[in-house]
């Protein structure tokens, strides 16, 4: 990204360095580099996730505990205020409906930061004893034209919301505690917001390449430490 991509997660698929060291040979095409990155399994395209909630009344207690447990405590918890729009690309293919979900997230409190485009797949079935949800996830930083791009691509806006809260880190784990508000219907984020509930959403997640199941165990152990304030669980979306 050339425009303000400070927060861009640059995943080392083709670093300038790699290109420079191959000074006199033609640089690999981006497709080739991506294929070799896929083959060597270095793309963090799996999300390990646990979710739960805490009522407003006790959120301070939870934040206090997280401050004690997490890494980024010196300068206080990091706050965020994001707007997320959930799109889907749909069509009927010989009787079978095909749906391709895409989400766009932008920081309302950091207008210069790139937008984030995200694909989240179905949660993987597999081992029932696995401690967390595992689902495929592709995260891409992008320019602000993404919203118009998706609409013209044929995507439909399903719903949108804002999330405002705190973000903590513990090793590779990310913990967010956020208040979710509905928005949309022509309202700008911040106008006529409608609280979803009297609780905060608590999420514990890690992005990793597939097969890094050991991280799920670390997440389970961490989730144990937050009990009984919040019960982080595998939420089965199909049952909701």
């Amino acid at each position: 990204m050339h425009d303000g991509g400070k927060a861009t997660r640059v995943i080392g698929i083709r670093s300038a360095e790699q290109v420079l060291t191959k000074n006199m040979t033609t640089p690999d095409s981006a497709k080739d580099s991506l294929t070799s990155a896929l083959n060597s399994n270095i793309i963090p395209n799996r999300e390990y996730l646990l979710q739960g909630s805490v009522v407003d009344q006790y959120v301070e207690v939870l934040l206090h505990r997280l401050r004690g447990l997490c890494d980024n405590v010196d300068d206080g918890a990091e706050t965020f205020y994001d707007h997320e729009m959930c799109f889907s690309l749909c069509m009927n293919s010989s009787g079978n409906p095909l749906v391709f979900p895409l989400r766009v997230r932008r920081a309302l409190d950091a207008q210069d930061a790139p937008y984030q485009l995200r694909y989240i797949g179905q949660q993987e079935l597999g081992d029932k004893n696995r401690p967390t949800i595992v689902r495929s996830s592709i995260d891409v930083a992008c320019s602000a034209s993404i919203v118009e791009f998706l609409q013209e691509l044929g995507c439909r806006l399903d719903f949108e919301y804002t999330a405002r809260g705190y973000m903590f880190r513990k090793g590779r784990m990310k913990i967010t505690v956020s208040k979710i508000c509905k928005c949309g219907g022509g309202n700008k984020p911040g106008e006529n917001i409608e609280l979803i509930s009297q609780s905060y959403l608590v999420e514990l997640s890690v992005l990793a390449p597939s097969g890094y199941d050991a991280i799920a165990e670390d997440m389970r152990v961490f989730a144990e430490q937050l009990k009984p304030l919040v019960h982080l669980e595998k939420i089965d979306y199909k049952r909701l």
Binding site: M1, V10, M24, T26, A30, N92, E152, G154
Partner: protein
């Protein structure tokens, strides 16, 4: 990042692509340029499947000058929307293959040696449409400046200096509307796409 002008270089009869590149290499080296590796700009085009309604086209381009970036251009017939993203966008396009499919025979790339000479960088690209050689694109970038109007004359003089009379004295059409604006890497991509589209059309006639 400065201002870039992309210029087609005609291939005279009796000359092949490689010998023309060699000729231009000799000329630029004689001016004092040093070779700084190779470069590659490629473009793949995806079209929406009929079930999605009116046909839309997504061009996905990469430039070795911005190796962590993917440039996409969506054409709907009435609108053209550029999108700049991280490298993993390619992975998303693969996932979207039920909706948008690539036309393999239209993959275009321009690649060749890259030179530096003072404040300019020069790239001599051989253009190939699905591996068939189509022509030569010369890219000249004047790096200290980001507003085309302020350096067009300098770039023109430099281009004419080593390409000769094939260089027009007016800026390329794409740049004409943007002479007073700040130049971005996306503008380079747009110029490549315009030239690639012309080469592709010549491909279909053959």
């Amino acid at each position: 990042m400065g201002v870039t002008v992309l210029q087609q270089f005609p291939i005279v009869e009796q000359r092949t692509g490689p010998s023309t590149i060699e000729l231009l290499t000799k000329r630029i080296v004689a001016l004092g340029a040093t070779q700084q590796g190779q470069f590659l700009v490629d473009c793949e085009t995806y079209s929406s499947v009929p079930q999605l309604g009116a046909q839309k086209t997504v061009h996905v381009l990469h430039n070795s000058e911005q190796p962590a970036t993917v440039f996409s251009i969506l054409e709907t017939g009435s609108k053209t929307i550029p999108l700049i993203t991280d490298g993993l966008f390619d992975l998303l396009m693969m996932k979207m293959s039920n909706f948008y499919q690539s036309k393999k025979q239209t993959k275009v790339e321009s690649k060749g040696p890259r030179f530096e000479i003072g404040d300019f960088s020069v790239k001599l690209g051989s253009v190939a449409v699905s591996q068939n050689f189509k022509g030569i694109l010369v890219e000249v970038e004047y790096r200290p400046c980001i507003v085309p109007a302020m350096c067009w004359d300098l770039i023109r003089e430099f281009l004419q200096g080593f390409l000769g009379s094939s260089v027009s004295s007016t800026p390329p059409p794409y740049l004409q509307n943007k002479m007073q604006e700040v130049y971005t890497p996306n503008d380079t991509i747009q110029q490549y796409l315009e030239h690639f589209t012309v080469y592709r059309k010549s491909h279909f006639k053959m």
